[in-house]
């Protein structure tokens, strides 16, 4: 029951993540050239700021910027890996603990029934 629910949840998340790639059509300009898709919402917000206040100049720049987009995606992957690694450790430890507890219980039961 819970297993079924978990499977359905995973499937739904994957569908939600993949569906936009098919559904959304790339916006095209007057010449019919398709523009870039699936950029960051943060960048869109930045463009919107310069649309509303064309004279606005950011007054501070990041101290360190990833040297390239490859390095940036490596760091994002590292961030996800740290989190996922911990959750994986937790799940493994919790499962083992549950199994040992069950084994101890059955061992105890067979002990007492043997007397």
């Amino acid at each position: 029951m819970k297993r079924m629910q978990n499977m359905l949840l995973v499937v739904a998340v994957i569908v939600l993540g993949v569906a936009p790639l098919w559904i959304v059509e790339a916006p095209s300009d007057e010449a019919g050239n398709q523009s870039a898709m699936f950029g960051g919402a943060d960048d869109k917000a930045r463009n919107l700021v310069s649309e509303i206040r064309p004279d606005y100049q950011p007054w501070f720049t990041p101290l360190v910027e990833p040297a390239s987009s490859e390095i940036a995606s490596m760091l994002f992957a590292l961030q996800a890996a740290l989190g996922a690694g911990f959750i994986g450790y937790y799940l493994g430890a919790a499962r083992t603990r549950e199994r040992l507890r069950n084994e101890r219980k059955t061992a105890h039961e067979s002990d007492t029934s043997g007397d």
Binding site: K2, I52, L82, A94
Partner: protein, 225 residues
């Protein structure tokens, strides 16, 4: 949802930092106290923090044709109450601001306010209300995480609209524009975050039922599905 480095006027940047600081300080104190009195809850805190690390690293495509990412702060919010997530979210944001040039130091206060304060508060409030009207556990967790996520992005849109009001329409016109970028993009991602939070919550109810019961004593009879 991160406001980029330097993209808030200086008085807004300072204002949001001052506004967020007491929450982070109180949250740090509350976590210390919690760990001292309930050391067994450390593992749940770790899971909540790790969950936020994973989710805020995942940039997902959305139906508006742009990418954004979930926050993962709803889980900790509904488990521990809103205070605990302020410092945890701040750590995630600091990591991204320093190493990834994603968000920024000057906008850290504003970003902490939306992602690590407003999001968890909304998640906690939704969770408690949903349980009070006897919604099923999975439904309550889903709604709390999804709406907390959405509230974060609405807050970001409001922060930017406040700093950059539209020349003719003022705050509200600007808010509609920024919401179009952030909140609309976020709707499918908020649903994803809700579903993923139910997934991890299922694991917690199976493996740590006692700790969960201790967190929500009033929900005692209902925690076990």
């Amino acid at each position: 949802m991160h406001i980029m480095e330097g993209f808030l006027p200086i008085e807004h940047a300072v204002g949001w930092t001052v506004a967020a600081a007491p929450f982070v300080a109180y949250g740090t104190w509350s976590i210390k106290k919690r760990v001292a009195t309930h050391p067994e809850q450390r593992i749940l805190l770790g899971v909540a923090a790790a969950f936020s690390f994973v989710l805020s690293a995942l940039k997902l495509p959305s139906l508006t044709g742009s990418c954004s990412h979930p926050t993962g702060t709803g889980l900790g919010g509904l488990l521990f109450g809103p205070a605990a997530m302020a410092p945890i979210g701040a750590v995630v944001l600091l990591f991204q601001a320093l190493l990834l040039a994603h968000g920024g130091l000057t906008t850290l206060g504003a970003n902490v306010f939306s992602m690590a304060i407003v999001g968890p508060i909304v998640a906690y409030a939704v969770f408690c209300s949903a349980r009070r009207v006897n919604a099923a556990m999975a439904v309550a967790v889903f709604l709390a995480a999804a709406l907390g996520d959405l509230a974060t992005y609405v807050t970001t849109a409001a922060q930017l609209a406040w700093a950059f009001p539209d020349a003719s329409g003022g705050f509200s016109a600007s808010f509609v524009k920024f919401s179009g970028v952030f909140a609309l993009t976020q709707i499918p991602l908020a649903i994803s975050e809700g579903l993923l939070t139910v997934l991890i919550f299922n694991a917690l109810t199976r493996f740590n039922p006692d700790e969960l019961r201790a967190l929500h004593p009033s929900d005692n009879a209902k925690v076990r599905p």
